[in-house]
């Protein structure tokens, strides 16, 4: 008898196609039984690509016709709320792509609904499952860099037009949050996860860089936390390369971490030690690349772990790695940033 959870996907765009569907299909604990997508050609294309039995033009129809255990909400940010609330109302566990709605008020309502119904609502902050970021968190918790003095977070990528399906223009809508809610949410959430610090005050500057679109594309902020740790967050769409990097400066050392490497500097670090560290890292990267290339599951390990954690939280009631509390705290910070911005066009 098939004991896997029946899952549906709402929104068959880029995040569903590239990340969630591959990780769901590679996980024996889930069977993807249906999907919902407004765009007709995309709906048919994805259904065929991933062999999804039933696809619907709206999530309302899907939720009305299917008996599901779990649902993934992979819609544009401003559409999260209605889909999540509808799924929770039907008694279905939800994994909602970040940033879990566009307003703190909405995110709180979703969280309250999930609590009221005793259901799992998992925010899709996948970076919490990336090996290097987990290692950095461990090192900081263990005291390897002493007390944190300062943190700098950089998240730059080519932007939604290059990395996403060109037909999907929702990122350019003013009300969809721009760079702040797209990658800023990742940056803030990861900061909360790694440092366990809460941001008290933050202010920044921004630029709307795409002509004819009133959407923020570059943001730079400074903040201070409740424990007087200062730092900065820099976000940009339109950069020539992808960079998601954290610098955590402590009284006993510095950690610089991104997807590909983690560097730990302490007072006595010398060039030869760096050379041997680089060799070790190159070896690790090579092993990861081989593992990825030879894996049958095409989703990254972070999304695979996110999916597995979703299953474990539903069935074994273990604590989630990506928590609703931190998702709400992320929203608070994003709103503080938004309120503080001086905008340059």
């Amino acid at each position: 008898m098939d004991k896997s959870l029946k899952a549906g996907i709402i929104g068959l765009g880029d995040s569903a196609k590239s990340y969630h569907l591959p990780s769901l299909l590679g996980n024996k604990n889930f069977s993807v039984v249906c999907g919902a997508e407004k765009n007709d050609s995309r709906r048919e294309r994805i259904a065929q690509m991933f062999n999804i039995q039933h696809v619907y033009p709206s999530f309302e129809e899907m939720l009305g016709n299917e008996e599901l255990d779990a649902v993934y909400v992979c819609l544009p940010n401003n559409l999260h709320f209605n889909a999540v609330m509808a799924a929770l109302e039907k008694g279905i566990h939800v994994l909602c792509e970040k940033p879990m709605g566009l307003a703190l008020r909405e995110a709180k309502q979703m969280a309250d609904k999930a609590k009221e119904k005793n259901l799992v609502l998992l925010p899709g902050y996948n970076n919490r499952f990336v090996d290097n970021f987990l290692q950095a968190k461990c090192m900081i918790e263990h005291g390897l860099i002493g007390n944190i003095l300062k943190t700098n977070i950089f998240f730059m990528n080519p932007g939604p037009f290059i990395s996403a399906d060109p037909k999907s223009e929702w990122h350019f809508g003013r009300d969809n949050g721009g760079v702040l809610y797209d990658i800023g949410s990742h940056a803030v959430n990861l900061f909360l996860f790694i440092t366990q610090e809460k941001i008290k005050e933050i202010r920044g500057s921004a630029r709307a860089g795409y002509r004819h679109f009133d959407v923020l594309t570059n943001i730079s902020c400074s903040f201070v936390t409740e424990n007087n740790i200062i730092g900065s967050i820099d976000l940009a769409w339109g950069s020539g390369a992808l960079l998601f990097e954290l610098h955590v400066v402590g009284t006993a050392g510095i950690i610089i971490v991104n997807y590909n490497e983690i560097r730990h500097y302490y007072f006595g670090t010398d060039p030869i030690e760096r050379f041997f560290d680089n060799l070790k890292m190159a070896k690790l990267e090579a092993l990861r690349a081989i593992r990825k290339a030879s894996s049958k599951i095409k989703a990254g390990i972070d999304y695979q772990r996110l999916t597995q954690n979703f299953f474990d939280v539903i069935t074994e009631k273990i604590a989630p790695v990506s928590t609703v509390e931190d998702a709400l705290e992320t929203h608070k910070v994003l709103e503080k940033i938004s309120d503080s911005l001086s905008i340059f066009f």
């Binding site: 005291g143 390897l144 006993a252 006595g268 030690e273």
Partner: protein
């Protein structure tokens, strides 16, 4: 006095109540083995080598010294307790007391004072030492009734470990103590002989490995080690760090010269575990040895 060592591991090294309980438990266990009288003048020689906090593994945690002072006040009503350190190559002790928070710690205790050994009145001490025949030492330090040495559990690039015996090197009032490094074993021996610590405490809440005593990496352990003899305590420290104590030059030397026994009793219900401290990387040591060799050759040439 029977040589004893107490080792205590604190599960949650960030919980101040747990730390306080552990410290008091150690002191109470050691109480029958330390000859301390009421109303004494006590000097506590701490380890502050640089302007870095205890979380780096480099300096003694002020909270631990606070626990010591509280226990002494309750049990022995001391006349006065001095928290002492001297100036060093990279350190002004008075600056360290201010910046590292020591000055604010004992504000409401009139009988607790900070003492810069380099700025105290000096007395000449005659000594049949291995290096010194006579020494200029701090008057307060030499005339105290009871000496507590409070060290850090650290690796040392030059001496292998820096615990109780090495902490006493800092009792020399001179600032540029680095000039004694070529004869470090003998100097450490003499400074422990001229005034041997009566109570030895080692802060291993966060130790230091790699390029200690100042450029190393923190080694968070949650350990406190205490004893009533510097050689025995350092042997316990060395075993904890995973270094055979005979390979620690100054420790082996002090033992051979009769400063303390190698056999001691471990009190309480803790045992000495090897925490495998990492020493200076082999390639760094090779380069350092190479540079020393070339420097010597150039001087001879």
């Amino acid at each position: 006095m029977k040589p004893v060592v107490v080792v205590k591991k604190i599960t949650n090294r960030k919980n101040k109540d747990d730390i306080r309980c552990a410290m008091f438990s150690i002191f109470n266990t050691l109480m029958p083995y330390i000859e301390l009288q009421k109303n004494s003048i006590i000097v506590t020689k701490i380890n502050l080598c640089l302007l870095i906090g205890p979380e780096t593994g480099g300096t003694v945690d002020p909270f631990l010294v606070e626990c010591l002072v509280d226990w002494l006040q309750v049990n022995y009503s001391p006349k006065i307790i001095y928290i002492a350190e001297s100036d060093a190559t990279h350190l002004d002790a008075d600056m360290a007391f201010k910046i590292l928070g020591w000055q604010d710690l004992f504000n409401n205790q009139e009988n607790v004072k900070l003492l810069n050994l380099s700025k105290d009145e000096l007395v000449e001490v005659r000594l049949n030492g291995k290096f010194f025949k006579s020494l200029q030492m701090s008057k307060t330090y030499m005339e105290c009734d009871y000496l507590v040495s409070f060290a850090k559990l650290k690796v040392h690039e030059d001496t292998k470990i820096s615990c109780i015996l090495k902490n006493q090197f800092g009792s020399l009032p001179e600032r540029l103590k680095i000039k004694y490094h070529p004869w470090i074993k003998e100097v450490i021996h003499d400074l422990n002989k001229v005034k041997m610590p009566d109570l030895c405490l080692v802060d291993g809440l966060v130790g230091m490995e790699r390029k200690g005593p100042i450029r190393g990496m923190p080694k968070p352990l949650g350990l406190i080690i205490a004893g009533n003899n510097p050689v025995s305590t350092d042997i316990a420290c060395s075993r904890t760090m995973g270094f055979p104590w005979r390979t620690v030059p100054h420790l082996n030397y002090c033992y051979k010269k009769g400063l303390g026994p190698a056999k001691f009793e471990i009190m309480g219900n803790n045992y000495i575990r090897n925490f495998r401290f990492r020493f200076v990387p082999w390639y760094t040591r090779l380069i350092k040895a190479g540079i020393s060799f070339l420097t010597l050759k150039r001087k001879d040439g």
